[in-house]
Symmetry: D2
Amino acid sequence: MTNQPATHGGAGVESLAEVLRRFAEERDWQQFHTPKNLAMALSGEVGELLAELQWLTPDESARVMADPVAGARVRAEIGDVMIYLVRLADVLGIDLVQAATDKLADSARRYPVEQARGSAAKAVDA
Amino acid sequence: MTNQPATHGGAGVESLAEVLRRFAEERDWQQFHTPKNLAMALSGEVGELLAELQWLTPDESARVMADPVAGARVRAEIGDVMIYLVRLADVLGIDLVQAATDKLADSARRYPVEQARGSAAKAVDA
Amino acid sequence: MTNQPATHGGAGVESLAEVLRRFAEERDWQQFHTPKNLAMALSGEVGELLAELQWLTPDESARVMADPVAGARVRAEIGDVMIYLVRLADVLGIDLVQAATDKLADSARRYPVEQARGSAAKAVDA
Amino acid sequence: MTNQPATHGGAGVESLAEVLRRFAEERDWQQFHTPKNLAMALSGEVGELLAELQWLTPDESARVMADPVAGARVRAEIGDVMIYLVRLADVLGIDLVQAATDKLADSARRYPVEQARGSAAKAVDA
């Protein structure tokens, strides 16, 4: 893997999880990869992502990918966040896409289309 | 979608992104879903995830899924984090798995197996 | 302290630190209050603060205290963040105001008034 | 202030808030310092703080200040967090120490000494 990062096809998240597992094993990093530590690392990476967007207006943030330099930084931070989220879910034995899908089904019940339409207040827990 | 959350097959992240897009459109929430706002929401959900793990020792955190109540809460928070990460990447036009794979290729160069083995210091930016 | 929270006079942060120390000791919580755990708790509280502001425009956020309900929530979250920050600094033996003052002196060198004026890019590390 | 950072005496937080206000005004940064943006910056700095502690065990984190290099980094990050928290509270018109003291009075009611003693579960919202 150090030579050729896995391409992702249908598997997507699952194959990424496997690549990350091998990456950690090769470096003997499993000892550091407790859920507690990985959650902190995830939070640290989200902090770096926020730092890219903090002084932009919402409109400017919507155009951030049009700037090649800022866009590349945002993409790299998003990549880091995904790495730690996938690794954390893998260590916990959680299927990320399924967990998100289940949570969304809850949200669909709590925010029925008719009541929630156009209301930021109702969007709080989307 | 409000009636039947998408099952995920090969598509995984892509189909989740699509479901989330429709979820937002139906509620007219696209106006709130700027990258800036979504990054804040992502960070808020990661904060809730940390709150589940903050008083646990690293070892206890490794066993958290064995407790049905705590495990369900952790899984729900992970689901929320994934929802906002997928939605944010979709709004930015970023392929999540590819961004992570590219970033990992960088890490493989910066942390060659031989030097990085077993060293927490070297694991900082995994 | 459980009966009458300290009023703060000149001492401010120092007396708050002392009150928090006693609060933890009375509950035998020092065992949980490692820097690692407290940093996670701090991050969790910042996440709750972000959740209060995430769907607001920057202008709306500037008026948030005018709404008694939202304002009270923001004030409570700010209070929680301060509690954990003061407790963390106390456990680490760091003088919060002095650490901030020293860091600001660095920023003053890195962002001289003339070059930094009105530039968001220069404000990144304020 | 760019020449001589304020010493802090009795005033502490209040005088730091004033120094930060002048720092922003001199650079015409008030336009960026909305509560929303400052909360994001605060979160970003907390993320950098977490990154310093993420791979340490709780015990190692308790000894982090004994290492001059790591200790200096932690102190600098704590300083950054305090800067943004004080600035955010100032912009919102919130008295930080009072907000924390009020919140602590709530916690004292919710976590009476007798029931809370030694219980991590009860420490969740300290």
